[in-house]
Symmetry: C2
Subunit: 411 residues, 2 copies
């Protein structure tokens, strides 16, 4: 017996045995000295948290509502928060149908533990083991890993172009993938690419999904963070037939660490998600659900969001102007109108992995594009950088380092 | 297209299609008037929350650590909290091996979003779709539903006797269930039965699990709540070979609504659980992780737990003395030494469902025993009642109603 267990080996489930921890989170955990600059994170800027207001609300909750806030809650979420989120989604984004408005189904709003749980639950209730999930390529690695670790999903990528997914390729993939029931999209300020899908393409995607009987999971964590350009209607706002699950969160506008997100979807779907959530974490942190409700009803959320937009408008502008100045013209990068990320693409002559390693050598962290590939074996010529987390001086110095690395590959 | 969607029907995954919401949570959600008394909940007593201390800590966190507490954290949990929980588990419960102590494996402590997430993650990483999980019968319905909704598990029950699972039957089930990799147990103050497995049986179970190559998931949410009798070592404290995953939480000693639990398990296992957790909710509420750490290091947790034990000692004693007085001797009930629940069993001549319905008719809620069956089709002669949630006068009046219902079946 002793020999056998000198180092115990465990039989893990097929779905988890081959999954690696997120490369980003591993990069973030790597030892760093004070001189290291990270463009690898995706954190909201710390100055975007309404700390004073949250402290006021927390004090009030402890003084007057502690018994409820510290007790078990219901799995679908704190009803007043569900109601005020539903109201805001309807008013600001035209999201959420109700039968009384003459529609064919009822949308319901439920609370989840961050957008990631919404993504995981959608997959858990809709996909059988080993089925395919169609995604933009590249896509949010957290979602890809969620699909893989929850149902051993095959993640099949549709190339993301400047104005959204390649529509012809989406048609072709759906024609050839009979076991796909879920189409995962981040149409606005996509992670990692920072790109936004055009209105025409959103309409086309909705029609294609309807025709192919697939449910669209529209992930919109950054939608409130537009700092330039025109708003584009969400796909959910076009959902007359009840085929869109809309997933978002308060992580980028109030606090990421509290883990409060939400889902707006037809109530038959949210009912199943609630059953699955009950067996995952029973409910999301109730104190912060109540805190968010008070913030949304007693403080000025819109004014707060305007402040955050101004922060990111400035920081993104700073990073773009630094890049414009520092890097050679052969290094392509996107010019986002919102969100947190810029996507940089190298010409075929520059090996991405070597480039990223050279950045590490000068103590600059970026995320290699392979991280975001649907096909984990596929190559990438791109890497992701972020402007919300680093300070202004880090943005400036980091872009200088990036320029120096790029010039070293110019020869 | 319109006809088809008059009421849209969705194809749900096999694992979720047939799962019902927890009967308990449905009972709790049913409309109730002021005169309704619920013995159905499993909530900690509201007076057990250290509200003043938590308010002090929260104010300090907002004043001095807000940027960290409201930001994204790491998936394995806030390191200082992991460390102080590991230390306490080692000191109080002799749980957690380390290689430096000459052992063959390292245990690691990670934070999860309540004990339920620990249970769900253990199953997710260890069980393939449709495999069997062995449980006590009856068992915690949240865990049973977690196994079902996560991996379509077959939940196979081993009868729970007064001193723990039927050992001969456990051997027999393991001999005949080749696809079982997980043995789920609540050895201390079991939910729903309130029973505690003897030391002799714990040792026997450990040896049997080792021999059959199954991992034990030891769930111990109530272990700190002993108010009479002698402490019995956990199975995890006997784990020399690295086959026990220990799951517990701070829900019953600090706050249930915050959703902070923890796992102590061999680090190969916790590493996989962290990967799966990353794809579920990224991390648990960071603010409350930091709050728990401060409570555990700057306040007197042991004294606080003593207070909670006194509350439940009194409330359990009150309920037992009311039952002793009110109900006929043919109604059997357990006499717990800790935890939150009493398990009542009817003689064969009294139909349990009719009895529970008669309770509902006199506005008394109890949980039918079928809820906790591993085999959802199997009958039950039992029902669960709880003494932590109702007030003293509700306990007295509820037991009077229970007695009246019982006497109506005596004829």
């Amino acid at each position: 017996m002793k020999d056998r267990l000198c180092h115990m080996t465990y039989r893990f489930s097929d779905r988890i045995a081959h999954i690696k921890p997120s490369a980003i989170r591993e990069i973030l955990k790597a030892p760093a000295d004070a001189d290291t600059i990270s463009f690898a994170a995706g954190n909201p800027a710390a100055e975007s948290f309404p700390v004073r207001e949250m402290a006021e609300i927390a004090a009030d909750l402890f003084a007057n509502h502690a018994s409820a806030a510290l007790q078990y809650g219901v799995s679908d979420g704190y009803l007043p928060l569900r109601e005020c989120i539903a109201k805001r989604q309807k008013e600001v984004w035209n999201i959420g149908k109700s039968v009384s408005a003459g529609d064919k189904f009822n949308d319901s709003t439920i609370i989840v533990s961050g957008g990631t749980q919404g993504i995981e639950l959608a997959c858990k209730i809709l996909c059988n083991e080993g089925e395919s999930v169609i995604c933009e390529n590249p896509s949010f690695v957290g979602a890809l890993n969620s699909f893989r670790s929850t149902v051993s999903a095959r993640t099949i990528g549709v190339p993301l172009l400047e104005d959204g997914p390649d529509i012809a390729e989406l048609e072709r993939v759906l024609d050839h993938t009979k076991d796909a029931h879920l189409l995962y999209l981040i149409p606005t300020f996509q992670n990692p690419a920072g790109l936004t899908t055009s209105l025409a393409k959103r309409k086309a995607i909705y029609e294609i999904a309807l025709r192919h009987h697939v449910i669209i999971l529209e992930d919109n964590p950054y939608g409130e963070l537009r700092f330039s350009g025109e708003e584009i209607p969400t796909i959910k706002s076009m959902d007359t037939e009840g085929i869109v699950i809309y997933c978002s969160s308060l992580s980028k506008i109030l606090s990421a660490g509290m883990r409060i997100g939400f889902i707006v979807a037809p109530e038959d779907i949210t009912a199943k998600m609630v059953v699955a959530k009950q067996s995952e974490d029973v409910h999301s942190n109730l104190f912060f659900q109540m805190l968010c409700h008070k913030f949304m009803t007693e403080y000025d959320l819109d004014a707060h969001i305007e402040k955050i937009r101004a922060i990111y408008r400035r920081k993104c502008g700073l990073m773009l102007s630094c890049l414009d100045r520092e890097v050679p013209s052969w290094l392509h990068y996107t010019r986002p109108e919102g969100g947190l990320f810029i996507w940089c693409t190298l010409p075929a002559s520059v090996p991405m992995n070597e480039f990223v390693r050279a950045c590490m050598d000068v103590k600059l962290r970026v995320v290699p594009g392979t991280t975001f590939n649907c096909d984990t074996e596929a190559p990438s010529q791109s890497f992701r950088i972020n402007y919300s987390t680093p300070s202004d001086s880090q943005i400036e110095e980091g872009c200088r380092r990036l320029g120096a690395v790029a010039r070293s590959f110019s020869k």
